[in-house]
Structures are given as structure tokens and as C-alpha cells.
């Protein structure tokens, strides 16, 4: 039996906005096994990023607890705690320090967590950038000098640099074209296989879910409405939201499929 890597027990979080209270996450419980990839889907505003931030310790839960490797995490995380989980944020521009070069940002993560020998860090940064499809020279650039998709890939490279066993990815490929996206997904899969990583993967893209996830959790208005194996969710979704998503996915005509097949053969 594989062990439970991440466990959430009845986790809730509300925010105050003026006189209102916004219930972002309500009583969510879920267990993620070592080496598993759990996808989280749900409509915009359903609490996915809040959940990611709770796991990271950016917010403390109002109620409930979060456990890593069987131990409850304190509200205030230690450096050792922080090294256990990395986040790729939904908005890469605001997550990268604009005053630092890309290389310096990644380097800082390596230094803080004492990863690798100091002398090997520069080459490690170059290697990481190349793995996400960017030239190593991009280490010298500032985030402002990158395109949207390039920034998103830098954020992925930085999260992977720390070698945390748990990685939370919040819409990591949403602004990437299909070719780069396929490349990143392959990288994530390879790393998971090689290092036994556990992923919590937030996305609204069902093709991505299908491609990477073992199980899918569906959120609605902060609550868990459905969870199950990926294949089951796609073949017999229980919840109306899940059914709606699947129904709204584009259907491609046969002749177009044939054209694609021909194109693919031409490329290979």
C-alpha cells in the first residue's frame, strides 16, 4: 500500500470583503497518495487557488487541518516545512520578483533550500530553463522582458528546482500553445516517474486532466462535489458541472481528424 502524502481534513477558509464574508473553501477533505497526480477542476471562483494557497501555508485554515506525511502542519511554516511543497502560481507575473533576473530568482530558491553544490547551481539553472524550452541565456533576463508563456515556464522551472516531493500547479499551462504545452506535460510526467513526485494539478482544461491525472476532484462554491478516478469521471460524471464541462468540449469532425493524422505522419 502506498502511503498518504497530503491529507486535508475538513479544511475551511473564509475571507472578509467589507461587510461581507466570502466562503472560499468549505469543509474539504481529501487524501493524495505518494506519487499520485490529483487534478482539481471547478468553475471560476470555486476555491481552487485558495485551496492551493492553504496547502502552501500562504493562508492558515479557519478550521480543519492539513497533514504532510502524516504530520499536521503548523499555521506558521518552518523553512523545512516550506521545502516540502512548491507552488506554481496561477499568475506568473506577480509571482516573480520584477527586480530580479530570472536566473537570480531560481538561484535564490536553490540557495534558500541548499540544493546542489553552489558551484553547480549556474549550470543547473541553465539545464532547468532548457527543460522548459527556454534558452539558458534567458537566466540573465528580467521577468518583464519575457512573453506570457515564457514567464509561465520560468515559474515552472523555479518550482521544480527545489526538488520538493509535492508540487502544486495552478493552471500551469493555460497560456501555452499546444506544442509547448505538450512538452511541459511530458517533462512533468518524466520528473514524476524519476523522482516519485506528487502533484496537485489545477486546470480547467479537460485534455490536460485526461493526460496527467490519476484522480479528479470537482469543486463547486468551495465544496467538494465529486471525486474519482479520471476515467470514471469522464465516462460517468455524477455532477452536473462535470457533465456540463464534458458536453461543452469541442467535437471534431472526422475529416478534420483525418487531416490531422496526415499532418502528423508528415511531421514524424
Amino acid at each position: 500500500m502506498t502511503s498518504i502524502h497530503l491529507a486535508l481534513r475538513s479544511v475551511s477558509k473564509s475571507f472578509r470583503v467589507g461587510a461581507r464574508s466570502v466562503r472560499a473553501v468549505e469543509g474539504i477533505s481529501v487524501e493524495v497518495a505518494e506519487g499520485e497526480c490529483l487534478a482539481i477542476v471547478g468553475e471560476s471562483g470555486s476555491g481552487k487557488s485558495t485551496l492551493a494557497n492553504l496547502v502552501l501555508g500562504v493562508y492558515a485554515p479557519d478550521a480543519g487541518s492539513i497533514m504532510l506525511d502524516g504530520a499536521t502542519l503548523p499555521a506558521r511554516r518552518s523553512l523545512a516545512n516550506r521545502r516540502m511543497v512548491q507552488l506554481v502560481q496561477q499568475n506568473p507575473l506577480s509571482s516573480l520578483n520584477p527586480k530580479r533576473t530570472v536566473g537570480a530568482s531560481i538561484r535564490l530558491s536553490l540557495d534558500v533550500h541548499g540544493i546542489g553544490k553552489p558551484s553547480s547551481r549556474a549550470s543547473r539553472i541553465g539545464w532547468l530553463l532548457e527543460e522548459v524550452g527556454l534558452p539558458a541565456e534567458f537566466a540573465e533576463r528580467s521577468p518583464a522582458a519575457l512573453s506570457g508563456g515564457q514567464r509561465q515556464r520560468v515559474a515552472i522551472a523555479r518550482a521544480l528546482a527545489c526538488e520538493s516531493r509535492l508540487v502544486v500547479l495552478d493552471e500551469p499551462t493555460s497560456s501555452l500553445d499546444v506544442i509547448v504545452q505538450a512538452r511541459i506535460l511530458r517533462l512533468l510526467k518524466d520528473l514524476r516517474a524519476a523522482r516519485g513526485l506528487t502533484y496537485v494539478f489545477i486546470t480547467h482544461d479537460l485534455a490536460v486532466v485526461r493526460n496527467v491525472a490519476d484522480r479528479v476532484m470537482v469543486l463547486k462554491e468551495g465544496a467538494r462535489v465529486e471525486i474519482g478516478e479520471t476515467a470514471r469521471i469522464f465516462t460517468c460524471p455524477e455532477h452536473a458541472y462535470t457533465r456540463g464541462l464534458i458536453a461543452a468540449s469541442p467535437v471534431i469532425a472526422q475529416e478534420e481528424q483525418d487531416l490531422r493524422d496526415r499532418l502528423r505522419q508528415g511531421i514524424g
Partner: protein
């Protein structure tokens, strides 16, 4: 007036930095006619956002950019306008949905205040109440369920997709002649995306708006646009009616792009092909040129 809404002629742009000059656009020419919806697609880093920002006049004032070529809006050269005239156009006659919505919304103001500012650009006398009503109405059109709460929130208090929809609503509310939409639906699921597209479509019909549409989602490009330009490493490599390009793509990059679209398998769920040849397909590197100081 027969002039196209947007006419870009031989746009060249480079960034000067201490590691040399990076040429990013190598002579882009494209037109968007009245009521036309034109897509600009291409690889990450190929120059789509830089082109879009140039149209809005946002690159011209940056110190490190070298820019040449003409950008004509409804027949008038943007280069011949004063910065103040260009600023007056933005948010009124032409508006943009930015790729990165959170950082393009001013973090120190509530959404309601930002919205009123946008509305006041085309209607300086608008009252607070009127502005709030208008804002509430457009927000519901982009499927925002609690417009009041959203208007009372700061951008950081909203989710990624909520900020994106606020941005879309702000770009549409003044009924611009030209809408530049840079990856407008990335944080939205198919259902909401569909709804915002329909809204844009209605705008095109009712207000004769023209759209320059940047997206990596080829399904949406196919459904929503009339004509298509493919940009590759800062050059337009293919152009034509969207349907025609999809049916017989000419450039190798366009072919690779179309082939990589997730395919529908078994139960109608799109799935990627694990074809490794695609992963290592063209990758953008703008080689630094010129002298290093």
C-alpha cells in the same frame, strides 16, 4: 470611410539591453477591416503581445524599444499623433484585453472605482450611480454572479478567472471600434469562454467592432475568427481566411500547430498525442544581434 480599422505596415521592433539588441518583430504587416475578426496565432515568444501592445501605442514610449513602420487606426497614423491623443483613444475607440489581467488592473483601487474611471473616459459626466449600474450589467454578461461583491473588491480579492472577466467587461463596456484581445480566455473554462465569445460576437454585430484576436486555442480561433495570420519568430508566415488555412495549412509551423491540437478520442474527450516529434518542434530564440557595449 473605406480605410480599414487597423492597418499595420512593416512593423519592426527591437529591444536594446546590455547584452545586445534583440530583434523581435521583423516587418509585420496585417490589416483588420471593419467588423472583421482577425486572429494572430503563433508560438510562445513569437511576438504576438508585443504587436498588440504596439497597436495600443504602449511600446512606443518605452526607452529600450526601437520601433519602425506604420500603424494606421481608421486611416490615421498613430505615429503622427501626440501621446495625449493616443491616450485618449485607449479605452474608448480602441481597447485591449491584456494577457496578464491581474497586473494590468491597478491593485490599490477597488474594481468599482476602476470601472467608473473606464466609463468616464467616454462619458466624463457619468454619475457614480449610473456607472455602478452599467458596470453591474456588463459584469453579469460575463457570468459574474455577484457583481456587487466584485465591484467592492480589490483585484487581489478575486480569483484569476474573475479578474480576467472584469478585464474583458472593461474592454467591452465603451463599445470600441477596435478590440485587441490577447489570450482573453486562458483562465476560463469552456462554458464561460463560450459565453464571453458570444458577447464579443454581439459587440461586433451591434457596434461594428473589429477584433484582433490572439489565442493559442485553435478551436476558438476557428469558431470565432474570419481571417488568420500566423506569426513565427517575428514574421508573418501565413495568412488567409481561417477556414482555408485550417483546411490546407501551408507553412510547416502551422502544420505542426494544427497537428498538435488535442484530438478527440473515445468518449469525445480531447486527448494529446504522445508524439515526441512535436515536442521538439520549432522553439523560439531571438538571437541577439548588434554590438555588445
Amino acid at each position: 470611410m473605406n480605410a480599414p480599422t487597423l492597418d499595420i505596415r512593416d512593423l519592426r521592433l527591437s529591444f536594446a539591453g546590455y547584452s545586445g539588441t534583440v530583434d523581435v518583430l521583423h516587418g509585420i504587416s496585417l490589416t483588420v477591416r471593419r467588423e472583421e475578426r482577425v486572429a494572430l496565432v503563433g508560438e510562445s515568444g513569437s511576438g504576438k503581445s508585443v504587436t498588440a501592445r504596439s497597436v495600443l501605442g504602449l511600446m512606443q514610449s518605452l526607452q529600450e524599444t526601437r520601433i519602425s513602420g506604420d500603424i494606421l487606426f481608421e486611416g490615421t497614423d498613430l505615429g503622427s499623433m501626440k501621446e495625449s491623443e493616443r491616450r485618449r483613444l485607449r479605452g474608448t475607440r480602441m481597447s485591449m484585453i491584456f494577457q496578464d489581467p491581474v497586473s494590468s488592473l491597478n491593485p490599490v483601487f477597488r474594481i468599482g472605482v476602476l470601472f467608473r474611471e473606464v466609463l468616464a473616459r467616454s462619458n466624463p459626466g457619468i454619475s457614480a450611480r449610473e456607472a455602478r449600474e452599467r458596470a453591474t450589467a456588463v459584469l453579469s454578461e460575463v457570468s459574474i454572479r455577484e457583481p456587487d461583491r466584485v465591484l467592492d473588491s480589490y483585484p487581489f480579492q478575486l480569483s484569476g478567472g474573475m479578474n480576467q472577466r472584469v478585464m474583458i467587461a472593461m474592454a467591452l463596456v465603451n463599445e470600441p471600434a477596435l478590440l485587441v484581445a490577447d489570450e482573453p480566455g486562458t483562465a476560463l473554462d469552456v462554458t464561460v469562454q463560450d459565453q464571453t465569445l458570444r458577447l464579443m460576437h454581439r459587440l461586433v454585430l451591434e457596434h461594428r467592432t473589429s477584433v484582433l484576436f490572439i489565442s493559442h486555442n485553435l478551436g476558438i480561433v476557428r469558431e470565432f475568427t474570419d481571417r488568420l495570420y500566423v506569426i513565427y519568430r517575428g514574421r508573418i508566415v501565413e495568412e488567409g481566411p481561417t477556414q482555408a488555412v485550417f483546411q490546407s495549412p501551408g507553412h510547416p509551423y502551422t502544420r505542426a500547430l494544427l497537428a498538435a491540437v488535442p484530438r478527440i478520442t473515445r468518449n469525445g474527450i480531447p486527448e494529446f498525442d504522445a508524439d515526441p516529434a512535436l515536442f521538439d518542434a520549432p522553439r523560439i530564440v531571438h538571437e541577439p544581434t548588434g554590438d555588445r557595449p
